[in-house]
Each structure stands twice: as structure tokens, then as C-alpha cells.
Symmetry: C2
Subunit: 539 residues, 2 copies
């Protein structure tokens, strides 16, 4: 627990306060942006200070029995997630919706007490893990409520039990990525779920939002790792049985996976873990034509080779990640195994890529980490895949600088069947591009596949445009609407792994059948009769 004590996280920006961009960082980035994307000259705005933030007076106090805070820092830090619109609002000092109180329960019984208090006092409760939502999952206006309590689960951050035989671990919901890694390492095990928010996001948040992780195939979402879940709802505590599988009725874990705090607070889960995979093969394949890359990717996944990494980067994405500047698309391929070399799988994938004109000039690299450790070799993670991974986790930090220099930056992601993807992709390029041109004068859009399925890819779009300082949210809304409407029209999902939150709620309600939505609402009424759980998220 160091995020607001020993090493404070920023109240407005992504990540640690000591990693906020320096003026030198920002000047360098500005040069790149202007040079690479041809944006008009960008300003360097002053970074905000906590002392300048104006917070509304709290409407309520927390209950006596709970560990709560109403400090300026705690309330500011719990006001938003980490989407572009969150950073913009925080940057400009808009904290009108700060929670009235932040609770940090240390155990499940304190969670239950808090929910009982909230139900009684008509206080909206917003479960809060890493606070890394990019869909408005952790903000709440509190209209119609006596106040808003942000319920931060970060005090519950322990690995409680490890079953090495079945390769599973019982972990508290507030444990974030690195904490899980460190505690499991004592048992020689890993979860290998690495969302981009890994440094800060928590197991509970991953489950509540059906987070996407490391693996491009097979184990794409946290869903695939969950054996059982415990959650505290206003109507009582739920715990599903720890099972490798079951066919008994609709899967109870699936009701909590994606529930986004609307039913209750996830407190712990049994998840499947594994040893570190020593066998790894990596390659980067170059395609002159993006659609050849798409065809190759489809064949590789339909061949059931189960690549751990299978990220097709379009030319803009390759450029943005400084991996290629010649207009080619790149397929970043990775295989891994705890048990056996994966050279054959890689060879077959490269063969399929080759049939579509994909070239791999540097060839694949194969590693055996155990053998390297035994021979005293150091880590030599200099491959494209390694560069890619580092850039991946650095990405969110770059948002801080971009927001501070008037650059609109956002991502949206989806999944769609292979037959629909070409029409969708073309429409996204055209309409989101047009929206950026109209609203911002120009814009840049890139696409990568984060995950791939036998029946379709999960494309992930990144957009950048010069924003007018003070009008950013208005501009963002226009561009976002173009994106979301296009996904809906072309039969894609509003989100593959970013969740619904408040930002995607309307589109989500049109995506799922009405009868289903009514059924989910009736579930919520049963588990949360007073409707205090994260009102406005999902439902």
C-alpha cells in the first residue's frame, strides 16, 4: 500500500507523481508529434497542483466504524478513472463530482458494514481498485443520493492461498498486478494477465470489467483464469464454488464477471496460475499490404496454433510505435510454453504468413530462459516484441504529456467477425477520420489487433488530434460518438475489454437484447434493493 503514502500517485494523471512529464520530455514529444503527424504547434500548459484544486464541501461523513478519508488528495484521486476525458477534467481542475468520502476497508466484514451503512443512508457506493477505468467506471455524480462513497479495496491486497497441484491461487481483490506477481513468485508461479493498466489495476477490477490481458488467443480475458469469486452485495455475501468447470445452470462466475460493481464489491477470487514459461519464440512479419496481413492472421488463428502474441499493427500503428516507417504493416508474433519448445508452432505461423507475402527478414528468435539462466546469460530482451512490450506499459504515461499540450488522444476497441471486419475497418477509418478533420482540423488513426479469435479479430484503434484547449471534451465527444456509432452499425461490440462503465452505457443497452437487460436489472434489484451500488455504471 504505497500509492498515496510513501510514493504518491498523481491526483489527476496516470501513474506515480514522480513520473509526471518534465518540460524537456514534453518539448521532445511535441517535436515528434508535430514532425510525425503534422499537427499545428502545440502549447505547453502548466501542470496542475493539488493545492489549486477546488473540491465541493462533502455532503456526508463516513460511518464511525470504517477507515475513511475526506482529505483533498484522497477525494481528488478517487474522482475519476484514467481515460482522456478524466485526465482533461482533472488537468483543468474540474472536481465537482469528487466523492464525499473515501473508504478503505481492511477486510470483507468492513465492506459488508459499509454497504449496510450506504443502504441505510442512501449513499451511492463506487467500488474502486486501481482507478484505471477508461470508461467512466469509477465516477459518480450522486444525483438522488445523500452522497457518494468511493470504496477503495486496495488494503486487501494479499495472495491468501496457493494450490500448486491444481495451479490456482486465492487472491484478494485489491491486489494489483505487481503485488500479485511478487507474492506468486514465492511459489514459482505467475498469473500472466497483463492489461496495459497492469502496474495499478487490481484483480477485483479485472474481474468486474472482464479485463483483457497478455494472451492474444485462448486466455484472452481474466474470465479464462477465474475459478471462483467472492463478492459482498447489499443482500449478503456470495461465493461461487471453486471448480475447474461445471455444467450446472448458467455459470455463476459469469454473472460477476463484467458486473462492474453494479451488484456488489468483489472481495477475492481463486484464479488459475502457471509457472513462468521458459520456452519462447518471437518474430515480426512485414506485409506490404495490410489486407494480406489480415488474411495471414486469420489463417494463423484458425490453424489453432494458439500464439500468445498475435498483434497485427497497421502502418500507422507501426509508425507510432517506432517499429516501421515505410508504410508496411507488422504482425508481432509470440509463442510461449511452460513445457516444450515452440519453434514448430512459430515455423508453421511464418509459413502461413509467407503464403500471404509476409516476410520475416530477421527470422524468429527462440529462447529457453531456463537454459539461459543456467548458463549465466543475462536478459537480452531487445526484440521487437520486447520493445513493443515496454512501449505498451509506458503508453499511459504518455497521455499525461499529451493532455498537457492540447492533444486529443483516445483509444477504442471492439471485436467483430472476420467477414464483417473489412467493412467495419473501412467505415471506422472514414468516419472517425472525418470526425477528427471536422472537429480538430486533422487527426491520426491507427489500428492493431490486441486479440484474435477463430471467428474474428479484436481491433484496437488509437486516435490523436490537435485539440483546442478548453474545448477538448466537446471535441472528444464528437469523435467518440462517430467511433461508437460505427461499431454499432457494423455489428461490432462496443467494447472487447475496456468495459461499459458510463461512457458506453447507451451503446451497450442497444447492443444486448432488451429482455436480457431487463433480466440483469431484476438481478440488480435482488442483490442491491436500494440501488446504491455504482449507480449509472452498466445500467
Amino acid at each position: 500500500m504505497t500509492d498515496d503514502t510513501n510514493r504518491p500517485v498523481s491526483f489527476w494523471a496516470w501513474g506515480w507523481e514522480d513520473r509526471l512529464p518534465t518540460d524537456e520530455d514534453r518539448r521532445e514529444l511535441r517535436t515528434q508529434i508535430e514532425g510525425l503527424l503534422g499537427f499545428p504547434e502545440r502549447p505547453l500548459l502548466d501542470l496542475p497542483g493539488l493545492e489549486d484544486v477546488e473540491l465541493p464541501a462533502p455532503r456526508i461523513e463516513g460511518p464511525d466504524h470504517a477507515t475513511t478519508s475526506q482529505s483533498r488528495r484522497a477525494r481528488a484521486q478517487h474522482t475519476y478513472g484514467k481515460a482522456y476525458r478524466d485526465l482533461v477534467r482533472g488537468f483543468h481542475g474540474d472536481y465537482a463530482n469528487a466523492p464525499d468520502v473515501v473508504a478503505r476497508p481492511e477486510n470483507e466484514s468492513e465492506v459488508a458494514d459499509l454497504l449496510a451503512w450506504a443502504t441505510e443512508a442512501n449513499v451511492a457506493v463506487v467500488p474502486f481498485g486501481g482507478g484505471t477505468s477508461v470508461v467512466g467506471g469509477v465516477e459518480c455524480e450522486g444525483d438522488g443520493y445523500a452522497g457518494v462513497c468511493s470504496l477503495d479495496v486496495r488494503e486487501m491486497d494479499r495472495v491468501l492461498e496457493v494450490d500448486e497441484h491444481s495451479r490456482a491461487a486465492r487472491i484478494q481483490a485489491g491486489a494489483r498486478g505487481p503485488e500479485i506477481r511478487e507474492q506468486l513468485a514465492e511459489h514459482g508461479l505467475q498469473l500472466r494477465h497483463y492489461p496495459q493498466s497492469y502496474e495499478f489495476s487490481t484483480l477485483g477490477g479485472w474481474i468486474a470489467t472482464r479485463a483483457g490481458g497478455h494472451f492474444a488467443t485462448r486466455y484472452t480475458h481474466i474470465d479464462d483464469f477465474v475459478e471462483s469469486v467472492r463478492a459482498v452485495t447489499p443482500s449478503g455475501t456470495l461465493e461461487t464454488r471453486r471448480l475447474p468447470a461445471s455444467g450446472a445452470g448458467p455459470d455463476p462466475n459469469r454473472f460477476l464477471l463484467g458486473s462492474e460493481g453494479a451488484f456488489g464489491v468483489i472481495t477475492e477470487a481463486w484464479v488459475r496460475v502457471q509457472p513462468r514459461p521458459p520456452y519462447r519464440s518471437r518474430a515480426t512479419v512485414r506485409f506490404d499490404d495490410y489486407w494480406d496481413g489480415v488474411a495471414a492472421t486469420r489463417e494463423i488463428v484458425q490453424a489453432r496454433l494458439y500464439p500468445a502474441n498475435c498483434r497485427l499493427l497497421d502502418a500507422n500503428e507501426a509508425m507510432l510505435n517506432e517499429l516501421a516507417f515505410d508504410g508496411s504493416s507488422l504482425l508481432v508474433l509470440g509463442f510461449e510454453s511452460t513445457d516444450h519448445p515452440v519453434e514448430d508452432e512459430m515455423a508453421r505461423a511464418l509459413e502461413l504468413a509467407d503464403e500471404h507475402g509476409g516476410t520475416c527478414p530477421d527470422g524468429p528468435t527462440h529462447r529457453d530462459l531456463n537454459a539461459e539462466a543456467a548458463s549465466g546469460e543475462g536478459d537480452r530482451d531487445s526484440s521487437t516484441e520486447g520493445k513493443w512490450r515496454n512501449a505498451f506499459f509506458e503508453g499511459p504515461y504518455r497521455y499525461n504529456a499529451l493532455v498537457s499540450m492540447g492533444v486529443l488522444v483516445d483509444t477504442f476497441e471492439t471485436a467483430v467477425t472476420w467477414d464483417q471486419f473489412p467493412a467495419l475497418h473501412e467505415a471506422v477509418q472514414e468516419r472517425v477520420g472525418a470526425a477528427m478533420d471536422e472537429v480538430c482540423g486533422t487527426g491520426f488513426l491507427s489500428c492493431r489487433f490486441t486479440h484474435v479469435y477463430e471467428d474474428g479479430p479484436a481491433p484496437y484503434y488509437t486516435l490523436l488530434a490537435p485539440a483546442e484547449v478548453g474545448r477538448e471534451l466537446e471535441q472528444w465527444r464528437e469523435v467518440k460518438r462517430a467511433a461508437s456509432d460505427t461499431l454499432e452499425e457494423f455489428g461490432a461490440t462496443i467494447t472487447h475489454h475496456h468495459a461499459v462503465g458510463r461512457v458506453h452505457r447507451e451503446h451497450y443497452h442497444r447492443e444486448v437484447p432488451d429482455g436480457y437487460l431487463d433480466a440483469v436489472r431484476s438481478m440488480k434489484r435482488t442483490l442491491d434493493p436500494a440501488g446504491v451500488m455504482n449507480p449509472g455504471a452498466l445500467l
Copy 2:
């Protein structure tokens, strides 16, 4: 549609009427049973005739607008599923709970009309596919209702659309296994979902019950093939969006998967399909000690080799299937691929088996069906795996004979984590064995793994005991209770893929959290306000 016209299915027994056991079949089987299992002399009872069945007078008629039948055959055929207790009741002419009317809607709008009529007239509706439930999923007493309507979806049996690019097909719920196979074959595709009931069971039934299929790993349940589902509920029609994946809220497909007709009638689904896999490797590994086999199986699945078949048969199961008579356990391994040879996966699996003392005297067999077809070779499916498969689909026919000679025969299946399996298995042997001894004087129990997961196996138990004719159900209940109670006590699931129905309902209600059950009930009230959908199943 031939099951009660051109080639009638038996009104009481498994399968086609023309495949009912002859006296010669039964004498042969009796000799085997008495010799192999040491049961006391078994009687050969007369098989029942439809003309002897007494049906209660129907309490209601179907609506004018629908295709319905109240014929003796239709009502008798729709009274039960195909569990031991169903065959026994049918054999002895107990048709007190025959549905009053059998409806065979030809399209979705007729289904909707039927549900509207049932809601209005307070008629219980029991969705009926192949009628192969082994958990009382398709029977209904109708207490508190004006009558019972069996809603048979078998007229809706077409593959409606195929997306070869995304490898998916839209199929009507009433299509049974062979019908799906034939229609997809025109496109060079297969579903490769082969439950033991494959010859008769339907896609809709598979989805409603979360049926288990062909693959021991990775694609274990029909759940893994479902892209989207359409269902008609009393409150309207639901259709989930066709998507390879989504992270938008709790997965709507998962609410219908396992819903067992309690919310409505599944009418069609998009499912993932694949070409026939030409590359296949098979092997049978012998273990002197069962627990060595268990350890090897665990390592093979944890190595993520993804065997299509990974069935560990204990000594009794190997004997029952006439594969080994020397007390050894067998691991029947199969790998398959549409894309590449699978010899390496097999070699690695055999290596892991070898480390635990597993021997494979005949070595693995590797095939390339395309190459064989090109060279004009015929099918040479004589391996243990092939024998096993044939016996697998013949299995249910044998029940007919056993019931007619006073043999109690049943199966129960579960899933449990690896760490819990030894204690569970020991308790099952002991307690179910003791129950059979006490109730039937003796008994035989065997076990195989049907599916395996990284965190645990899905053991499937078969039991045989000499029954006292006329007391079979009483005896069965005692033995079944011992089995179900043991599963519950040792943290296993009441069903891995047989579903809940009416037989497992009480244990299911104790397996899932109360709050979850309340939530499911509230969903049902929303979708089926009059409570006419399959009352007593699941809920």
C-alpha cells in the same frame, strides 16, 4: 424428420424401435454381466408394447393455430428423457405424467404463439429437443397448472446460413447431430460436438443444458462454440449479437447457456465450425497404478498440449469397455488438427506419461486423412480410440437391454480440482460401493475422465448393480443419493455436463450461492412472469 414417422423411435427406450434388443442380444449380455461382474442370475423381462400403455386423459387441448398431437405415441414419447429412471418408468408402463399435448412448431412465430397461449391458459411448457435428458429435464407433473404441453422443436432442423470466412454457421435449435453434420458437410465444415446422445440430441438442447462434447480440452462444452443465441421467452424474443468475443457486461450468451428451458425456448444459434481435421494421432497408454495415470494426465493437460481426447479409464472402466482385463488403467490419447501434423504433441504427451510409468506398447498411430483419401486408402479405424468411440455411441442402446433384465445402470459425472480429486474418488468408491452393496447386494463402479482441465479433471462414473424388479427406482434413489451427497461434500460440482434438470435440483441449489439463486429467480420472473416455462427444472 423421421423420428416418429418413417423410422419410429421407441416410446420408452433409447433410440430407434428397430434397434431394440433381441432375446439373443439379451442372453449374450446376461452371460457377460453374470460372468464379468458376478451378478446373480438376471431375468429376461418382456419388452413393453405401446398398446399396453395406459395414458391419463388429457386435461387440455392445444391451441387451434398450432401443429399439435395428442396421439398415444407422441404423448408417451414425450413423457420422459432417457435416464435409467426414465427407462424403468417407461418399461413398467408408468405414464401418469405424460404431457397432455405435444406441439411441434414449424417456426419461431409459432413458438411465440404457443408461449402466449400457455401463459394465458396457465399451461406448463416443457421444451423438448431429442428428449435425451438424463436429469429429468423434459418431464413435468403439471401440479398447479391447467396442463402440460411438450414443445418439440424438431421441425426446426435446418442450417440456415454459413459464414465460411469466419467459420461459423447459423443453425436452428431442433437440428440433431447427424442433421448438422450432413448439412455442414456441403460446406466442407463440421461442428465436432459429439455428446454421447449425438444421434438424437439437438443443438438447442445442447445449449440449454451446456452439453459436453468431443474435445477433452479447450472446447469441452457447447458453450465454447456459441457465438450468439436466439430464444423466445414469454416476454419476447431475445437475440444476442454475433460476436467472436466481448467485454460488455456479464456475457448474455451465458445466461441462456444452461438455462434449461426455464426462461424460454432456444430457437437458433450461430456456432463456430471448422473443416474436418485430417491430421490425427492416437495412442493408448497403460498404467499399472491408477494414480500414476492421474499424475500423467494432470501433467499432460498442464503442459497445454490440448489433446482432443484424454480419457483416463480406471481398471473397471477398461474392463467394461473390453480394452483391458489385467487391472491396468488406460489413458486414451488423441490429438487432431485441421492444419498441421500432431505427432510432436503426441510424442511429448507420451514422454510425460512415460515419466509416470505409462507404457505404450503399440506406439502411437499417426494419420493424414487427406493423404489417405488421395492414395485411395479406405478407412482403417481399428485403433483403440476407434473402438472406444463406437462403444461410446452404442452405450445408450445397451441400457435398453439392461433395464429389461433387472440391472440397475447409471452414470454420474462431476468436476473437481486436482488437489481434491484423490479424496473425492476414494469417498465415491467407498460410499457408492457401500450403497450398492447395501441396497442391491453387490455392485460395480468404474470411472473415466471425460474432460480434463489445468486445474482439475471431470471424472465420469458408471455403476451397475443387480436390481430387484419393481423396486428399481427405490434402489436407484439410494445409490444416487450416496453419489450426489459425496460430490457435494467434497467440493465437486453436481454436474459437469449432464445438467441439473429435476434430479439434481436440490444439490444444485446448495452448490450455488443463495444470492445468485435469488438473482436467477428474479431473471426468470422477468422473462417468464407466469412461470410456465419448464417448471421444476433448474429452479
